[in-house]
């Protein structure tokens, strides 16, 4: 059964029953709600909260470019000239909060040069020549903090607002609230190249939200989506089966007189049938112009760069087709099993490699969306789970650093070409406009027209939200 989407806030309130048709009407063409309507379990335990807009939305879609492993802030968007001065001198502070005092650590300067770019003059290191060309469209937050310098926990926090598994991912929440605009496509898509960041698929899980809202992984290489390729090679065979199924299923439906869930399950077959062609079609880049392909770097010599660029271009096509939330993760080339950007050693080689793989595709996405007028209704988030220490046990290496790191965003509703917040002069701590992951989440929801405090779901005896008891919208970056 479904609860009326607008009646949901209060503890223990009894939901008004809706017929499936009411919900369909209410949900217009939303894929998410469509599926919700078919939720047949008596979901007394898990009540549905408000999938209505709380504010006028600034953007419709999100593309979340996740840099797993911990991309270094002091080597990317947060220049620290002081580190150049201190380079090689002993670091005599505390490595991490609460940790034992480390010995034999030294300050490590950034191996890359920083320059100002664009009209805004935002500093970007040489790691990202292409993104640097787009700085006037982005909003850099230099004052992020996370809870734990441990990959799985920090990854889960960045994705689900909790540092343990079992909670819904940001993309799931967004789809739960808004649904997909294309009923033949899932609302939350994970574009990957085979690697799953530490924390596993729980990063992209629906948690306690209905399974509808989990991410659908789409791979860059080979068969992109599980079960999307028709098992029947001859389309006529599948059609023949589906025709008989439809008749048989209607017979079954009549035998039990009426049942919303069965009815929806029957309709799902038609939808699944269409998805078999729609999904590959959306992912197919053949129809893109040569110029576009070149812009994204699909002609790159580096295979991993090609894969990442493919996913960037697919991300554009997916959101154009109405997918709400697309996450792109990085191919795991340098960082081993702990995430791509996890350069405890060979910082220069690893970060340079990862930047090479991702820079052109992301910049192309920014430019492409902008030229199509889509950037204003899309939010691009470039994020990592934590930063890297401005010091290390030896040169050319940095460790996990949760007390300061950088993310940036671009798209509608933001003050573009600005820098928000600051770290201290060596990048040890965020000191100005300190921004928590919850704040980032609250802001993303706000831009989508959602109040992070009101977007809740009844589970385990309470109305649970993405930000729990935390989170403040980052007003300073809103246009």
């Amino acid at each position: 059964m479904s609860h009326h989407p607008s009646e949901s806030q209060c503890p223990g309130c009894a939901p008004r029953s809706l017929s499936r048709r009411d919900v369909l009407k209410y949900a217009s063409n939303g894929f998410g709600l469509m599926a919700l309507s078919a939720l047949m379990s008596d979901k007394g335990y898990a009540g549905l909260a408000a999938p209505t807009l709380h504010f006028k939305p600034k953007v419709k879609n999100v593309i979340f470019c996740f840099m797993p492993g911990g991309a270094s802030h002091v080597d990317t968007f947060d220049p620290k000239p002081k580190l150049t001065e201190l380079d090689g001198k002993p670091f005599d502070g505390f490595y991490q909060v609460g940790a034992k005092k480390e010995i034999n650590r030294k300050w490590v300067k950034s191996p890359w040069e920083f320059k100002q770019h664009g009209q805004s003059g935002i500093w970007v290191s040489d790691l990202f020549p292409n993104v640097a060309g787009c700085v006037d469209d982005i909003t850099v937050i230099r004052s992020m903090v996370s809870g734990f310098p441990l990959h799985p926990r920090a990854n889960l926090l960045m994705h689900t607002g909790r540092n343990t598994g079992g909670f819904p991912s940001l993309g799931s929440w967004v789809n739960y609230a808004l649904g997909s605009e294309n009923k033949n496509l899932p609302g939350y898509v994970l574009l990957h190249a085979g690697a799953v960041p530490p924390g596993g698929l729980e990063n992209f899980s629906n948690g306690f939200l209905p399974a509808t809202y989990q991410a659908t992984p789409m791979q860059a290489d080979g068969k992109p989506v599980v079960n999307i390729e028709p098992a029947d090679k001859d389309p006529q065979i599948q059609r023949a089966k589906l025709d008989v199924l439809l008749q048989e299923d209607r017979r079954f439906l009549q035998s039990i007189r009426r049942n919303d869930a069965v009815e929806s399950a029957i309709e799902n077959y038609e939808m699944a049938y269409k998805m078999q062609s729609v999904v590959p079609d959306v992912l197919n880049l053949d129809k893109e112009s040569e110029a576009t392909k070149k812009l994204y770097g699909l002609d790159a010599a580096d295979k991993n760069k090609r894969l990442y660029s493919t996913q960037c271009l697919r991300a554009r096509r997916l959101i154009e087709s109405g997918v709400r939330f697309v996450e792109i993760t990085c191919p795991e080339v340098y960082g081993g099993n702990n995430g791509t950007w996890d350069q405890h050693t060979e910082l220069k080689k690893g970060h340079e490699g990862n930047a090479l793989i991702t820079d052109q595709g992301i910049a192309a996405l920014l430019k492409d969306l902008k030229s199509r007028g889509l950037l204003q209704e899309t939010l691009i988030v470039w994020a990592t789970e934590f930063g890297r220490t401005p010091h290390g046990p030896k040169p050319d290496c940095r460790d996990h650093h949760e007390t300061a790191f950088t993310v940036w965003m671009a798209g509608g509703g933001l003050k573009s070409g600005t820098v928000y917040g600051a770290t201290d002069d060596v990048g040890m701590r965020s000191v100005e406009n300190v921004t928590e992951v919850f704040d980032l989440h609250a802001t993303i929801l706000q831009l989508l027209g959602l109040d992070h405090k009101k977007l809740t779901y009844r589970f385990g005896g309470r109305d649970v939200s993405l930000t729990d008891v935390h989170g403040n919208v980052i007003k300073g970056i809103l246009a």
Binding site: G12, A14, A35, E202, V226, N227
Partner: protein, 1106 residues
Amino acid sequence: MPILVTLSTLLAMALPVVAGEDPKPDPSSLEFFEKQVRPLLVKQCISCHGEAQQFSSLRVDSREALLKGGNRGPAIIPGDANLSLFAKAVRHEGLKMPMGSKLAPEEIAAIEKWINLGAPWPSATAASVAAPAAGFYEKIKKEHWAFQPLAMNRPPLDKAALQEGGTHVVDHHIRAALKQAGLKSAEPADRQTLIRRLSLVLTGLPPTPLEVDLFVRDASPGAYPRLVDRLLASPQFGERWARHWMDVMRFAETFGNDWNYEIKGAWLYRDYLIRAFNQEVPYDQLVREHLAGDLLPKPRLNTQEGINESVIGTSFVRLGELGHDDCIRFRQIRTDVVDNQIDTLGKAFQGLTVACARCHDHKLDPIPTSDYYALYGALTSSRMVMRNADTPDVHAAPKQRLRELKPLIRSELAKQWLQETTLMPRYLMAAHRAWKGLPPKPQDLTELSLDRIQSWLALLEKQRPGMEEPLYPWIQSSGSELAQEWARLQSRYAEETRDRVANNREKFRPFGDLARDGFGGWHADGNASLDGPSPSGEFAVSNTGPAAVTGVFPAGIYTHVLSERLDAALRSPLVPKDKKFLSLQVVGGRMGAWRTILDNCMLSEDYQLLDSDSPHWLKIPNRVDQPTLPFYVELVTKGSNPRIPDRPGRLKVTQAQIDSPYSYFGIARAFLHDADESPQDELSHLAPLFAGGAPANLDDLAKRYASIVRRSLDRWVLDQSTDEDARWIGWLLENGLITNLFNQTPRLQELIEEYRLVESSIAAPQTFNGLADLEAGYDFPVLPAGDAEHPGKIVPRGFLELITGTQEGVKAFGSGRLEIADLIASPSNPLTARVMANRIWLHVFGRGIVPTADNFGVYGEQPSHPELLDALAVQFVRDGWSVKKQIRFLLMSQTFQQSSQAPPEALASDSQNRLLSYYPVRRLEGESIRDAILAVSGRLDRTMYGPSIQPYREEPKDYRKLHQGPLDGNGRRSIYIKVTRHEGSRFLDTFDFPNPTVARGNRDTTNVPAQALALLNDPFVLDQAGVWADNLIKAQAPTVESRLDSMFRTALGRLPDDAEHARFAELAKELASLHKADSEKILESREVWKDMAHAIFNLKEFIYLH
């Protein structure tokens, strides 16, 4: 509660409210208050009539305050806005409030409406209220339905009502409610539907055609109860119902987090549940086993399987997520683990969200924060350890035989070794000559073994430093002035011995005398021979290779006294923090390990493998940096080490070493100390060398060595060794100075071969993650706001005040789990029986009488049929807490046996079928869909129990323990597919397999295109369609029609009707043409019948329970 009230609540109608009464707030009116009224109060009124100021002595920030009113009397009369001063004031009748402005008409209307609704106020949800007002909990305890005692003494059936309403108590209550709503029950279901429904509900598998036929044809009145009893007695019943409980237990087999370590032996818990549900173990017993199975005075022993069942129950505590962090840098990592344990315990057994009280007193249910930390104390007072589920007598026969063989081996070996001692002086002298560059004696070259001379020579040439080295005196005294040298040596040794003994006595405090004093306060687990320490001279027979023995040891505790296949854990008492180090004298190998555990962080990185058969000292830093957190050290064999298999690269071991059945350790002594060194050797083994004056010459000294060895062997064969004797024999063995070959005599070979054969019959230990109470237990502080860095007042460990009626906690030695178990598993506990009776109902009817199966608190949903639930709970207890009896009782009702065809009136007025006017149709769980496919295709392997099968994966990730499994799971039922955190079985996940993180009594049943895509395109489904096609073709049906009959009967439990015959025959024809199959030989076309089978798997009727 009268049913009328329940109904109106469900239909969200306003409750009739009597003025002045404080009604049970109706959810929708509460919502109205929160949305429309509270904001007004906050915005317009609180600044003058709140906490800060109270003009006219009036506060409006609680219902009580409004009722009490201010100087002018009560501000509200609930139920009557016209009489309420508050409403008058906002209407500006007389008083004009708020000051200086008037509310908008709709705002005034909202306040009026709210008062007319009875002024419902969810006082506990007031965000600013840190602790509920005094008396708030008392009120809820008195009023909330679920906290009221079960009327155990009331007759369960109302006789008069029975005669009127029906013969079954379920039907009586259901029909009474239907009647109220103007509805009726549906017609009885037909027998084919009934057997399919029963089979799926009880076993999760569809009935076979034969079963259907037998039941349909059996017209006798006893047919139905017989069928029920047969299905209840089938082994598949336990598989189905264990899985329901596993949802509640957030069952998983890997720990998740960084490395997704195995939850070793989690499958033992799954098997335990299956056996328990099948054997009708009473639920109260199961509760006791879950909470305190390790502490029960009389554990349930399964003699057939050699399993202590009871102890396995405690696994449930350990099934949550767990990382390898030491929980110190981030205390929350530890408190999160316990939080999940408390959450699961509270929801599973009591239907209470106890974990809500982690940061503040529960805002709705009477659960103060002190209750949460009382439970925290109880849980953290137990150690989270690996346990062994083997019964004490497991392997008794082989162990007995090994015990008999050992003395025979010892005496045969001793005989040989004693013989060898006669040549020992000559060997030593020969080696000495070689060492000194002197020519060898000719007879030595012919009569002695060159290898043995080399062994002695090696020792001399190495000149190991250290006065404890047996040849140290020899090396020092090899000059010409032997008598003087000897005198000097003698006094040096005497002095050194004195110093060392004094040093050891002064600086080292024994940490349990393991060798002589039982376990000296240490705790042993496992099925190795840990029934006591071994005397000096204990030895271990080598189970592979050419060696006869692996060593001869000083008095101590050794796990491989009989076999390296036996497993063990030896755990220290909590380590006192007044010393900086602890030193252990150990042996060990084959991945035996030492580990330290701080604050129950069980996957700690702080462990190392043992790799030596010679007793040596381990020096382990004490955790003096953590003065308050419990810390202990444990020695474990591989099976009892929760970290193994470890993550890649952590240990330098091969897969073969991990897979080998062998592992062992031994320990002789343990000390605590501040000095940064381990105890010194006290040189006692060399005392005999200095007894009796100086040797006349080296020959004489060599003979003295031999005679010491001889005396040691004489005592050894009589089992009268001293540690010194063991030391000498161990030294000879270690350095190859005596022959250590299993086949050095035919008799020895015979004995050791038998020993090895007997030893190889010992099965792998059944170890799992469980609990143990090893110390007095300790109380834990409240952590205000859940902040582990800033503990508050200490609360006595115990259980919920709601149940115990006191804040005193349990008085037990240890954790108090056994006492808590008794409090839960008691007929006087108002929640236990209700919660379980509701879970049983949920799985029989698809929805609980209380729909929120894990939440019976104020925030949970109301029961649809409260009296029925109580009657069932009472009956459950009276029937000895038998789950099977309760299920059987429900199945005997007409309500269960009615048709799933919805009466038209019900569709109109009770569209959710909450009143059960027809049997609810619902989709099968993913497990049942998969199992049904396997059953129908003929692939189902009904083998029960055992280690799980890895799920099939597109991309296995071995480094995170996400290994590849077979596409068809070897045909095993889904309950045997491994539940791996991070990524589970994709097929099951698609059909709402619950995320194994928190208790989940109610599963989702979503309905998404991914499910259609899975049934259409998943390789598993296609593979099984092929298997079914092969079996169909093998069965050689004469016609397409008869094959269709067979397919329908197998998959759907019924025959196709004429239209279906025609439809599917037509499909077969069309498929044959599309596949270009010979239409004459259509019955033999695998492609056609694979597609036909595939189509049947995709029928809604196939995946719906109706």
